[in-house]
């Protein structure tokens, strides 16, 4: 008989756990997510860095220190197997004052303790050779070549697609409201879509992991939201070649200046602690954005004019009591595993967290896992018109003319790309079509014009493929419908 596993939360962490567990014959894995699509929680809005692993103090935060570097190494493999957009361009932690070198030395030492390879402190000359436009007063930097960047939501999507191909069942728009525990053992989870039986419940609910844990009667930690805000600028504005950090302070890694994987200059985040019940407040603020601007300027003085911005956004870090990741099988409730407080560097650590949870299942729950004979490690990325040569376009057009039609002008996304994205949405079980689901799979609507031309075209494609009227298509799930009805709905007095 198979052991039933329910993973709560389809963020980068839940998805990575699902992928690792999908390797085993004797597990039946369910991935439960309250949103309309995967990766829309903390994993959506962050700096998208695969950190180097030098930052986390192994004495204070042993889990972070251990899993970050492991995660980094695993990502080098996962991005290839799963065709996740990425770039390994390395990071420079920039020193602006003489004292900063003391901190860089400390980081170097810590990195070496954590097993980070190839780090070294470089002088002014080498820094300017690597990064000619950094603040002219910079004195040197710590160079960490193994740092990289990925598309965080594309990563979640890729991992979930692969997990589904290997038998994982995804339950979207399914909110966990209770956990059934009998005689100290988990029995399953109560959701808005009914009861789901489970022998193992894994809590990977991001900001809400404390609330899920409470449902199982375990309440020794809390999660506080800590906001970080960002600016992204139009294409063509020169950004750095590497990921630039300021020398960190005890409270923060500081505002990063980077060219994100699509080629846009991005700056952020700041760090603003919010009250505990502000877990859905991802609004941007004037003050926060100003702070980011000021701090980014310290390492990158040539910021573009402000109107060159194409988007500002904010994300919330799930900060746990104690500061370290909480990853363990809870003894009071047999079968309940907390994977909570996965704050930064959670994106980096996620694959390693997947294996950590596997080990916990074997070691602490005493379940002997049997590997599947046929497990498919690979997943193909969808077609991206912007990566095609004209001859390839002509071949695709012969199969389906939709590949020749551009939908998103700014990012060169074809109708064929969008149709593939919609197919993939259906493959993992997306029931409510949204523009964001297409955006995260294709990059449509995320360029210079932010979708003012193509959003309507995408809405109509979604409406056609899902067989619903266009006004029922959403921006980001139920409650964010594009319209209130047909254009005469108010005149007929029908809209509520």
């Amino acid at each position: 008989m198979k052991t039933k596993v329910a993973i709560i939360g389809a963020g980068i962490v839940g998805a990575s756990i699902a992928r690792v567990l999908s390797k085993y014959e004797n597990l039946e894995v369910h991935l439960i997510e309250k949103e309309a699509d995967v990766g829309w929680g903390v994993s959506k809005a962050n700096t998208a860095l695969i950190h180097g692993g030098y930052d986390d103090d192994p004495d204070k935060y042993p889990m972070r220190a251990k899993l970050c570097i492991r995660g980094n190494r695993l990502w080098h493999q996962w991005v290839k197997e799963l065709e996740i957009p990425h770039i390994w361009n390395g990071a420079l932690i920039v020193a602006l004052k003489d004292e900063d070198f003391d901190e860089l030395e400390r980081l170097l030492e810590r990195g070496q303790r954590n097993g980070v390879p190839e780090m070294r402190i470089i002088d002014r000359e080498e820094l300017f050779h690597l990064e000619p436009n950094v603040n002219p007063n910079a004195l040197g930097a710590l160079w960490v070549p193994i740092v990289g960047q990925i598309g965080p939501i594309p990563a979640v999507i890729a991992i979930v697609e692969n997990a589904v191909a290997n038998g994982v069942k995804v339950h979207l728009e399914t909110e966990v409201r209770g956990i059934k525990v009998e005689n100290g053992e988990v029995k399953g989870i109560e959701t808005n879509n009914g009861f789901i039986e489970a022998d193992i419940v894994i809590n990977a609910a991001g900001l809400y992991a404390d609330e899920i844990s409470k449902m199982a009667g375990i309440d020794y930690f809390e999660i506080h939201p800590r906001k970080g805000e960002y600016w992204i600028f139009d294409e063509g504005i020169p950004g750095p070649n590497h990921v630039l950090f300021p020398t960190p302070t005890p409270i923060s890694k500081g505002v990063v200046v980077t060219t994100e994987i699509s080629g846009h200059l991005m700056i952020g985040p700041n760090a603003q602690d919010l009250p505990k019940d502000y877990k859905d407040d991802t609004s941007t603020t004037r003050e926060g954005l100003e702070e980011v601007w000021r701090k980014a300027q310290e390492i990158w003085p040539n910021l573009p004019p402000r109107w060159k911005v194409i988007r500002t956004f904010a994300g919330l870090r799930p900060e746990p009591t104690g500061g370290d990741f909480i990853i363990k099988a809870e003894e009071e409730v047999q079968g309940f595993i907390n994977v909570a407080g996965i704050r930064s560097p959670g994106l980096t650590s996620a694959p390693a967290i997947g294996y950590e949870v596997r080990d916990i299942i074997e070691r602490d729950l005493g379940i002997k896992l049997k590997e599947k004979e046929k497990w498919n490690p690979y997943r193909k990325e969808i077609t991206h018109f912007f990566m095609l040569q004209p001859t390839q376009i002509n071949e695709l057009v012969k199969k389906n003319p939709a590949y020749g039609r551009i939908v998103c002008r700014c990012n060169k996304v074809s109708e064929g790309d969008v149709l593939e994205a919609i197919e993939r949405m259906k493959f993992i079980g997306v029931k409510t079509p949204s523009v964001d689901s297409v955006k995260f799979r294709t990059k449509a609507t995320s360029g210079t014009c932010q979708g003012s031309f193509c959003k309507v075209v995408i809405i109509n494609l979604l409406a056609r493929e899902y067989g619903i009227p266009p006004w029922k298509v959403t921006l980001k799930g139920k409650g964010s419908e594009i319209g209130i009805g047909d254009v005469k709905v108010l005149l007929r007095g029908e809209a509520q």
Binding site: F385, P390, C449, G485
Partner: protein, 414 residues
Amino acid sequence: MNTLQYDVVVIGGGPAGLAAAVKAKEYGLNVLLLDENEYLGGILPQCIHPGFGIHYFREELTGPEFSHRFVQRVKDLKIDYFVKARVLEIKNYSDLEKIVAFTSPEGAFEVWAKAIIYATGARERHAFEIGIVGDRVAGIYTAGEAQTLMDIYGVMPGKEVVIVGSGDVGLIMARRFALEGAKVKAVIELMPYPGGLARNVMILRDFNIPLYLSHKVVEVRGKKRVEKVKVVKVDENLREIPGTEFWIECDTIIISAGLIPQVKLLTDIGVEIDPATGGPVVNDLLETTVPGIFVAGNSLLINDLVDYVAEQGELAAYGAKLFIENGGIPAEKWIKLEKGNNIRLAVPHYLSGKRDVYIYARVRKPMENVVLNFPEIDRKIRLPVVRPAEMLRIRLRKEEIAKARDKITMEVVQ
């Protein structure tokens, strides 16, 4: 690779491109017209209100009617065209050898052409560009996006609307929403005067819509959809006045905060751009700084009236014809048009004195009882009023222009 060969490729099938294609064909040139939408007409098919063609056709048409007349001409003249065809790149090998690379449901093509007429229109500024912060939720649309939803696809975006910007597009959308039964709660304008033509400002009175001048929207809040927006008053220097903030509840925000000429394909090949217009620097045949590439309509400068857009398209076609016939634009010297007092922008930038020209210009700020003065050539025009919202269109004769040595200044004086 599919290759084609034409005298002229017209990029963009809005009124500028349509007028250019028709005229070029009438001149006997072999023309290809390309547009990426599913239909020709540019933004006109979605502008279902009247107000088009008063100068060009001497009657008041709706957008679809205006565009239909040109599309009919395109068909009558059997002009080759592709829709759903997006131009991805222009390559300039030599003056009379250019390549336009495009993709369409028929495949990827390269077109060899002697001249190019670039008429790609404009894009709209969005909420992020004007510094609005808060939640990124449903219910925020640019005016053109809302117009396409309503008048091409028949979707009603929302029922309680705040419009950001009092330009023509914003005002017309205020009326569209009101006519379909929505409550337009406010039009918010940053400047101390409305941004649209007087005839469109009347809409606000007709539909009882409050206009807040010297105000700006700074923040949007809502969980899944817009619930309210924060508005603040600004002083004469456009600085926010603390303590004047207030919230308006609404479910829809329409951003109508200006248009930006789409010139990416031109800047990619080094065409010089005028920061004042956002469009290319051109001569009196609307030729850009790359010989043989002409530009018209909203990708040249933002026009209020489609009539002038069509006029520019026809001039560009004439330019292309001269260019092809002579292997270049013949001119002995170029006289620079300089911007003097209260002139924010003026096009074309260079005049030859061989041709009469229309100068299209905008002022920086409103003034009454003024003289539009061209000191170098002794030309004075009295005007009761000039406003930033209304583009000036002034005809200069070639004999006048030829009087100037190397520049002509255009200025507004009392």
